[in-house]
Point group: D2
Chain length 337, copies 4
Amino acid sequence: MSEVHRFEPSRAQLAYTFGGREPVLRVRPGDIIEMSTEDCFGGVVRGVDDLPSVVCEFPYLNPVTGPFHVEGAEPGDTLAVHFVEIMPARDWAVSSTFPHFGALTSTHATATLQPPLEERVWRYDVDVAAGVVRYHARRSDLTVELPLDPMHGTVGVAPGAFEARVTLVPDVHGGNMDTPELRAGVTVYFGVHVSGALFAIGDGHARQGHGEVTGVAVEAAMRTTVVVDVIKGASTPWPRLESDTVLMSTGSARPLEDAYRISQHDLVLWTAELTGLDELDAYQLLGQAGEAAVANVCDPNYTMVAKVAKSYLGGSAGYGGVHANLRAAAGQYLARR
Amino acid sequence: MSEVHRFEPSRAQLAYTFGGREPVLRVRPGDIIEMSTEDCFGGVVRGVDDLPSVVCEFPYLNPVTGPFHVEGAEPGDTLAVHFVEIMPARDWAVSSTFPHFGALTSTHATATLQPPLEERVWRYDVDVAAGVVRYHARRSDLTVELPLDPMHGTVGVAPGAFEARVTLVPDVHGGNMDTPELRAGVTVYFGVHVSGALFAIGDGHARQGHGEVTGVAVEAAMRTTVVVDVIKGASTPWPRLESDTVLMSTGSARPLEDAYRISQHDLVLWTAELTGLDELDAYQLLGQAGEAAVANVCDPNYTMVAKVAKSYLGGSAGYGGVHANLRAAAGQYLARR
Amino acid sequence: MSEVHRFEPSRAQLAYTFGGREPVLRVRPGDIIEMSTEDCFGGVVRGVDDLPSVVCEFPYLNPVTGPFHVEGAEPGDTLAVHFVEIMPARDWAVSSTFPHFGALTSTHATATLQPPLEERVWRYDVDVAAGVVRYHARRSDLTVELPLDPMHGTVGVAPGAFEARVTLVPDVHGGNMDTPELRAGVTVYFGVHVSGALFAIGDGHARQGHGEVTGVAVEAAMRTTVVVDVIKGASTPWPRLESDTVLMSTGSARPLEDAYRISQHDLVLWTAELTGLDELDAYQLLGQAGEAAVANVCDPNYTMVAKVAKSYLGGSAGYGGVHANLRAAAGQYLARR
Amino acid sequence: MSEVHRFEPSRAQLAYTFGGREPVLRVRPGDIIEMSTEDCFGGVVRGVDDLPSVVCEFPYLNPVTGPFHVEGAEPGDTLAVHFVEIMPARDWAVSSTFPHFGALTSTHATATLQPPLEERVWRYDVDVAAGVVRYHARRSDLTVELPLDPMHGTVGVAPGAFEARVTLVPDVHGGNMDTPELRAGVTVYFGVHVSGALFAIGDGHARQGHGEVTGVAVEAAMRTTVVVDVIKGASTPWPRLESDTVLMSTGSARPLEDAYRISQHDLVLWTAELTGLDELDAYQLLGQAGEAAVANVCDPNYTMVAKVAKSYLGGSAGYGGVHANLRAAAGQYLARR
């Protein structure tokens, strides 16, 4: 019988790495977890005068809620995390520039001798009822309403090889992938590297542009519900996503073409496996039917998402239909609530 | 009074560079040109046994129709080319792998010691009435219908600085950008580098996936109609596109993040100019409202497209409404025809 | 009074991460440590039939000796590690290709659909007396003598921000930089991230080409002696090296130009600090006087080294002459031995 | 009987592209050409108040002397250009920063929203007798003497495929490779793309740091003498260099690792051809014996040079000993003069 857990971390319980942490909760496949997550600034940037470089203290950035231990998840298995609901916890959210961070600035890696861009904060209204966030220009009067589209920038499992990675980094274990594709209704699959998988979630965005070009999205604390499952003996080389209509593979690397290569390569192999096509025939099909969604072009690794409609693959579902099962469980939970 | 021209090049009239060619036709702003274009293989790959590396002769690849001289277009101006119609000329199209070309293979630049991937050709059915192209696997029986979505991979003007560039290369002058955003109903803007602009068009695709991951789309000869205009004194640093609903900037470079940077940077500046936002406010707005469409990740330069809905910019149109005017002219032409 | 320590790790004591490990030894500034290090294969590749992918077990690759806790080293300080001696421990060494690793092959990041290169092992003779290593071709009879030039590919400290990183990765904390510049007579400086610094050393190479193009050098177990010091209150953003004649900054990143940028940028700032030049004057001087040594173009981050002769900087030494002091201490130790 | 030509271009005769130009002179294999070349600014930056962006007019930058037609050179052949002498023509030279150009600044490709670095000019003394150039800091009193080491940044042939490329770009045809390895005593080999090869030379540097990090070297007009030869039926995929002691391959691309890959890949194949090693054995040998010299990390393509000592290849010389022959011819010419 599946259980519903609730976990609301104290400030001291927030995690800043994937790996190297004890689990905050043990759950079983099929269980539901209702949790709260803080925004990437830990909630301390509350208005336009709260400059992140002043009010935040490195390395206490991008906190995640977790890690959660999933019973039965062992190295070589796949963990499925289905996002039932991602709901903004406040009626405001913030964004900013941040010195030497973002795509249109020099950074610590793309090092130049120029001074950094001005650090500036924008505070957005979050209007859940209207389904919008409201941008207010800082140097003029323009206000723009943009669709609310809640997502989590950061979700991952503990990495293998005894590693612990800061939550700002996306890699094989997931992490700070910052893809707007990761919204409610989507299942994320991770290869399991340590016993219990130890997944964690954070970095909610009320919405985000493609590539997170400024380095910071519309950052929002969230109330989020997931349901989990374990697929025994199924390997997942890079995080994959599945919605009702599409299959997605991710890749996180630099330069950006390598993130693209990894994601497309994984989707070719996944397509071949699901359809019985040989690799070259699958490559050709994706060459014409495939999409590429830009996730982030600002984090320590860039992230790209390869997508294909299931309808082009004869309706193939990943992992023998896990997504549909979790979707059904989510529906029952929402109906009961 | 605007004129309707028709130009169907003989094989000898096809061009293989932007720049270094005499114009095939002189037209005036407001004129309409009906033209035919060959596919990227010059039409010699007709079935699965026609291996491109055997039947094509370098450098006679990716022929373009043109160049067309537009009266009054001078360096410092902007040329607008509105695509009225892009119609497949045949009921078939082809795609292939090609040795050392594509994103999931080593190439002449990403040089490795591995042998190239197998060269294989796929022939697609093009069913204009049904609005589909039909993929047939080569090593199994799978057939997949994909939406017909005709576009031109290659469109550009003569480069400046006395250069001539092969049509396979995308750069500041346009060229082989290979973006599926370049479909009928869209206006493309180019900075003019030489007197008359000397634009040319080729490389029709019945459809294309994001990034053209195999290096080759569903390659099709086209019957294409454009209407042109010149915007005096308006500079355009990189090719821009405009549809009824979105503004787009392109960037072509390696690595892929630089193509992303160029396109997003141009769209920030364009947005600031159209809305009166300061640069940082425009950057923030695009950071949340902007999109990034992957064009090609296989050509000598990679191409990215930055997009933003005009509705988020208060309905701003580019270049004082040129697109709407050309759209109207296209409508009248289609109605008369 | 400085102490001489000896540490020869058992197999179980070898470390596979920087960070996340308890120190094996505590030393004080000025102390000397004589240690043994295993080769990158942990010594299990002993002949041409020992294929690494068969005889090695992931993640037990690239073991390091340490970590060593240096008393008084605190975050914000700089650790200096001077290499007194690096001596091959055996009369043989090995190299190999490794599937999906190296610069002239596709990799897990530069993912292609091609099969990997053949995995092949070469066993070298190490002739310390003659000062050479001897290459033997595998598919023909050619033998080539190359100068013995012992170095350590991997040396680093524990990273900050609660991270633990596999020893295969070079980054801000050092790690698998794989630069031939790191030979006996050289001092390496690291920013300290955790109390005690926790440095470790491994991955000896009897010699290495620029970029480690095959992914694997002439891998050798070593008997290595270092002397350490702590520079209180001096920050070091990226590992730096100093010999009697040159100052060097390192950068580790992808793409390779970012590794170049980081290293040159750091050397510009260091030069400005040592000479009193303003940044642009220092940039100009390095533009003409500076060198760039390619370290690795195969690891998860690539590493470049920026170099400048001290003679061009008026004989400036780094960190107030720490290198000369350690060099003198090394000389006394060697004389006494 | 070989002939000695002298060519001193008028300002109007200077060329700004490779390709698209009529030859200024026709020579035969074995002929010697004495020529003068202007500096990259066309000689108009003469002091610290001559800002390049003010006194230079795009695209009249980086002029080359030529092109020279070499009789008998046909597509598929190799042109050998041996540099007999490269002598500074003036007792001064200049360097500068240039807006959005250089490695430690944002550029038009690595586009950021930051303002450009300050544009500043440095004037160097060139003291041929003393064998030095003299740097003078602009914001303090430091003067530094650096060894004079004259070279040409730009040398190439006409590209194929009907292209014309600005002289600022390095690619398969050579061009603006900006490698300090291209000094007197060195032979450069180019694949021939058009009848007569049409080579040209410019962009003398009194010396240059690795990577030309500021984007501009110690720019000097030169009096340069070359002797040429044609190797019939020998193909050269990328420019190669040969000195008395080393063989070198070049690669020009972005990102920098691709320039490295191209150059190392070509040197592996060249080594295999000269030694009879199989490709993997040659790869291994270069992995330990090879060098990588950074040429430029600032031009539209970056350039890397792969090097190996001939002594490690059993004394192998390229192209059957052409370098030694040209070296001898150069010696006779110098003795006679």
